[in-house]
Subunit: 333 residues, 2 copies
DNA sequence: CTGAAAGCGCTAACAT
DNA sequence: ATGTTAGCGCTTTCAG
């Protein structure tokens, strides 16, 4: 089956290829009668326009590139869903790539998207440093960063991590807990620093000592590192009143370690996570979590990007408020 | 910043654009010295080849299209991850689209991929019927279906659903359960029919009565429908010995309904799911589940597809064995 | 309102 | 070992 081109359609409809092109782009300059003829011919031949060729001559592809660390992580898959939805509403297609937390793959991904001629990109960066290197590749391509790991001279949408951690801590303090440990995250992540800051502020305000368990930058498998830490904690028999986990995924590691020692939340200790991923609402889990509003921030990133592409808007910075989703993993001390 | 083209590189390196092209494709006809010069020029100009243009003239894009119902469903996101991984090993890029269980979107997705000139496609179809309509669009484009909802004249990779359900039922019987209900799935799905068949066969073999709760085709929100069913079941006070859920996601609905009535697995009833998604291994969940071997079947689909693209292999049919992953959601009666 | 011609960035014969 | 030429399928001036 040979490829059907615009010329085949033109021949069948008895018009020029220009007219076909105009019909497809719904140019007002073509008479309705002609448009009908052309549309019929398209239908008859099962014509599908070649987007690549179109992009080649029109210098616009209606595609946006989205780069995230890992789509199989529920937080990112939910984020991507909202991005895709909003992109579709603006008639953009999404090109998605994972960096698997590998800075080199992040560069490769950008290269690939550039070679696909995307009209703009949304990047959930690996670390604040990578933005500078990205810019060299990106040139003046419209781009907005999602999350806190962005550089200083770019558009971004992020959540107030400091506030989120602060509120989580305050909530635990109000419940009467005094030994509150913060567990998880990797040194070097800006997101982590912000969350730690909020946590410390709350501890200070309540006259409590912060206990922090943060992975060194070199750690490869962050989750198992966290499991080990929690396991050691519980094995030592020193069960904290409460733990604030860097993310819901980490909270699961803590819960797993606890379970190994016959401990449960909220009976034996309270726990709150971050991200409010779908797992936290599961039966038998009911994890209290700080929501990052992924659906709102995802749409917002798309809207900012589309504005940049279409109207050449300058840099934007949005910081959205987190929300503590209270379920039943914490209780009064 | 103007786009850097192959001609700019050629000019800087003092060669023809053909030579640049050959260097990029690592043609053996070019001397190492020239290649070096060209590579240096690329580097200096930060040149990124335009893949669309390349596809236009070479009639091959090294992209494969993947269509699944919903990537935010953990089963599909894990499947996609394995597809993407295997595709990368064969130097193919993946173009991913969700159909959100909408047959029309499935057609649109195919159209989009065709217009992107993908070299082949992997489709996890909505229903067995859709394959026939797909073929009209697809023409002779290499394509392999993943899962049981494929037509009769196409390549596919599926899991033996009948066997999976049979083994799950047998396992429950061996534990001494007699009232075993099957819950979930939508009428019209071939996958469901196969699972029901295996379940019935086992019931028959053990002289037990099958109890089936299957959603009519018209049901929109399958999950809440299942929740309602389970809720009604438990509210009636007739707690079955065990339930086989159509999927792990459905099992969660059952567990949630049970929880509402103060019931737990495995204390009050046993439960097994299907898919073995990441959720089932969570602490406090530990759901026994029939694994669909998503990573194996995903890679297999890619391999079959690549063979079709490169060697023009004919139709293939692979049926892989499921595996019962025993955790602790079931116990002896 | 419609068409002819040029060209987007690249590769693939066909030279040399 | 390298260059020339001619498109790939589409949009976009520029002319009618």
């Amino acid at each position: 089956m040979k490829r059907v081109t615009i010329r085949d359609v033109a021949a069948l409809a008895g018009v020029s290829s220009t007219t076909v092109s105009r019909t497809l782009n719904d140019s007002p300059a073509i008479s309705e009668a002609t448009k009908e003829k052309v549309r019929a011919a398209c239908e008859a031949l099962n014509y599908v326009p070649d987007i690549a060729a179109r992009g080649l001559s029109s210098h616009t592809t209606n595609m946006i590139g989205v780069i995230v660390p890992d789509v199989s992580n529920p937080y990112f898959s939910a984020l991507c869903a909202s991005i895709e939805e909003c992109a579709a509403e603006n008639s953009y297609q999404v090109l998605l790539t994972n960096t698997l937390h590998n800075p080199d793959l992040e560069m490769e991904a950008i290269d690939w998207m550039l070679s696909q001629q995307v009209d703009g990109m949304i990047i959930s960066a690996y670390s604040p440093q990578s933005q500078e290197r990205d810019t060299a590749l990106l040139g003046d391509l419209p781009c907005v960063y999602h999350g806190s790991n962005h550089g200083s001279s770019c558009s971004y949408v992020e959540v107030d991590n400091d506030l989120g951690a602060f509120e989580a801590s305050q909530y635990l303090c109000r419940l009467g807990h005094r030994q509150i440990v913060f567990l998880g995250g990797r040194t070097g992540s800006r997101t982590l620093e912000q969350r730690l800051a909020g946590y410390r502020r709350s501890m200070l305000m309540n006259g409590l000592t912060p206990y922090e368990f943060v992975a060194p930058e070199s750690v490869q498998k962050l989750r198992s590192w966290c499991y080990e830490q929690a396991e050691e904690l519980f094995r030592g028999g020193c069960i904290p009143d409460a733990v604030i986990a860097y993310s819901d995924a980490i909270a699961m590691q803590v819960l797993a370690a606890a379970e190994k020692h016959g401990l449960r939340a909220p009976e034996d200790f309270s726990i709150v996570g971050f991200d409010d991923i779908s797992i936290s609402m599961l039966p038998q889990i009911h994890l209290t979590s700080v929501s990052q509003q992924k659906s709102r921030t995802g749409r917002m990133a798309v809207e900012r990007l589309v504005a940049q592409i279409k109207d050449g808007t300058g840099q934007t910075a949005d910081i959205v408020q987190p929300e503590l989703m209270i379920r039943s993993s914490c209780r009064k001390k």
